[in-house]
Symmetry: C2
Subunit: 391 residues, 2 copies
């Protein structure tokens, strides 16, 4: 069940190939508190530029999303098109355009086919309430192979609230947002500043800790709308339910990010890598991403080869201060490297790699900081999917 | 023909699979001036650590190389093994161990099979003069598919000198040295300091400007030996032949680095990418490597897809200051992006990509600096080669 007061719609506007819905709307029946995080890529798509302006108000009521076209690298026309889409939605919903957010995902560099989108807006709005979260989660997919939705129920006083999130994203994934769109809705009343804070915390520890291929997109967006329809006393940093809300929101973003990596383009394995014993959290993050983004490490994982030497090499060029002779590496429970030297247990570790869920722990033994991320292996299918993406 | 006074040898020590030579020796009949550059990876293989100490003298006479085992992440035993190998060679050649350099390439983390190497040393030395440069270039190959040798003749006064280089390397290639071994020999007399300078210049503009997969190795080494047997007056920075020597050496390293990328693991295309109009050379380098190391760009090249949007995205996350609305991008002669906007000529550009040698030019239009690098596409075969490397 979706949180109270949210309606959904998805239609086919022929932006993608025929037979697939590609235009979707999320609508809150009342104005909501909104918070968001956006790509750190300097090249930002038109919809991202528009949303980043609007989110200053902390208010919103609708999110329109199209797949099949990223409306990125489209210049002034791209900005005009994004603005027009939100105006058309606002007019039809009879709300202010400033309350409408917009996201696009798909091919970069081609103008939106506005002539096909415009005539579909009224159908999109009429359809509100006839579609489900799953319809929207499906309509926003590009190379994803399954829709991604996570829900959590929270008891606030005597009332049962809901946080529900959906996202898309399967490639071009790296920290600080990658072609990743995520919409989270809740009927719980929460102070906008508090919402902003908990969202940023949750994103930092979830979406910003996953990597598929080290590429970062022009379009990444996470938006949360809290419409307060539950009628609870507004959650603030000082109120009782704050901790529960924060924890549940993190569970939603964390589980959604796990689904993204699981659906990594061509991936056959979900791999959790932890660097611990680092001198600082920044060092731990840098080291763990250097390992996780190494094509040689990722192909070895695919080949069920516990090639810890490639991990050592990736640590060595990470730019982080390490001491080779201190490093321990584990694949699952199997210690393959002891103080920088192989333990001769590679064959046992190769068997660990035959699983679908792998844990790798790297202990730098230099300090107390750690960072854990999720990634996947690099396969022939990744190459195939991305070589043929626009054909 | 090899430069005068150099002898070669290659034998089978069963470090690799049976039937392949894997132990090689390059020997100068007289002591030579030596210069070298080494991996910037913090995790340095034992032979690299040893060579870096010895090269301080600027002198040398022999280089022993094994393939099949990198002698990296092997701790104290690795250092002892490397030292022992050079001592065995020195004793048999009746020269000082400090004149012997050593390189290893292959799997990381497994100790050298010294029990198989020791008994082969005398055969390796007896064989000197019976093998060719090509035999050595073949014996040092790992995933390479062909031996890589380049020669240049230079007239110095009335005498004809030679610079000849060989190298191996096909994956794990990135700037600042990657699993790349290169040996350059010349019979031209040249001052050691001058040799050091011209080698560093040549490497910076050749081997440090190529990338296959963004991984940097623990073992990269470039060594040059100048034995002076030609009998010319020693070349110095102030002498007439300096410019010719420098140019010829650059041609050798430049052509060798082109051969490495051409042999990039699984590559089907040789791609030259130039970023120009950058505010500084550092910006140009950073931007061009961000594009060249993007898995999404590389798979698109493989798919004959002039997906310039992925180039824009890679520029956007490069960390370099860019202005999207100023950028021009060309595939060959076809301008696909004009001031940040698509020109609609993608189909023409796709046809350019069907060639084997591709040029991509990115003009940031912000300044006068540029950087040009060589790379290759990312294919299913890259994944296959690297998933199965140790099996």
């Amino acid at each position: 069940m979706a949180p109270k007061g949210f309606l959904f719609s998805a239609v086919e506007a022929a932006i993608k190939k025929p037979g697939r819905k590609d235009l979707a709307l999320i609508y809150s029946q009342v104005e909501a508190a909104v918070a968001g995080t956006f790509t750190t890529n300097t090249v930002k798509a038109a919809p991202v530029q528009l949303d980043m302006k609007r989110i200053g108000s902390g208010r919103g009521q609708a999110i329109v999303i199209n797949s099949g076209n990223a409306n990125a690298c489209t210049g002034k026309k791209g900005l005009q098109d994004a603005d027009e889409m939100t105006r058309l939605i606002a007019n039809n919903l009879n709300i202010e355009p400033s309350l409408v957010y917009i996201c696009s995902t798909g091919v970069i560099g081609t103008p939106l086919p506005m002539e096909r989108i415009r005539p579909k807006i009224s159908e999109l709005i009429e359809n509100l309430g006839r579609s489900t979260m799953k319809d929207v989660a499906s309509a926003i997919m590009t190379t994803d192979t399954f829709p991604k939705i996570v829900r959590r129920k929270i008891k606030i006083g005597s009332k049962m609230g809901t946080i529900a999130g959906m996202c898309k994203g399967a490639g071009m994934i790296w920290p600080n947002m990658a072609t990743m769109l995520c919409y989270i809705m809740t009927d719980i009343a929460i102070n906008q500043k508090t919402l902003d804070k908990v969202l940023n915390d949750a994103v930092r520890k979830s979406f910003n800790r996953i990597t598929v291929d080290g590429d970062r997109s022009t379009n990444d967006t996470v938006l949360i709308m809290a419409n307060g329809i539950l009628g609870n006393p507004q959650v603030t940093e000082k109120s009782g339910p704050y901790t529960t809300f924060k924890k549940s929101l993190y569970e939603v973003t964390s589980e959604l990010s796990r689904l993204i990596v699981k659906d990594g383009e061509g991936a056959t394995k979900l791999v959790e890598i932890e660097v611990k014993g680092a001198a600082s959290e920044a060092d731990a993050e840098r080291a763990v991403f250097s390992v996780a983004n190494s094509s040689l490490v990722k192909t070895a994982l695919y080949g069920n080869d516990a090639n810890w030497g490639r991990i050592m090499a990736a640590l060595g060029y990470s730019g982080v201060h390490i001491k080779e002779e201190k490093i321990d590496i584990y694949f699952g429970d199997i210690k393959v490297t002891d103080r920088g030297i192989g333990t001769g247990r590679d064959k046992e570790a190769n068997r660990v790699l035959k699983g679908k869920n792998i844990k790798i722990i790297i202990d730098l033994r230099l300090g107390r900081s750690s960072a854990k991320i999720l990634t996947c292996d690099l396969t022939e299918d990744y190459v195939r999917v991305n070589a043929a993406y626009r054909t």
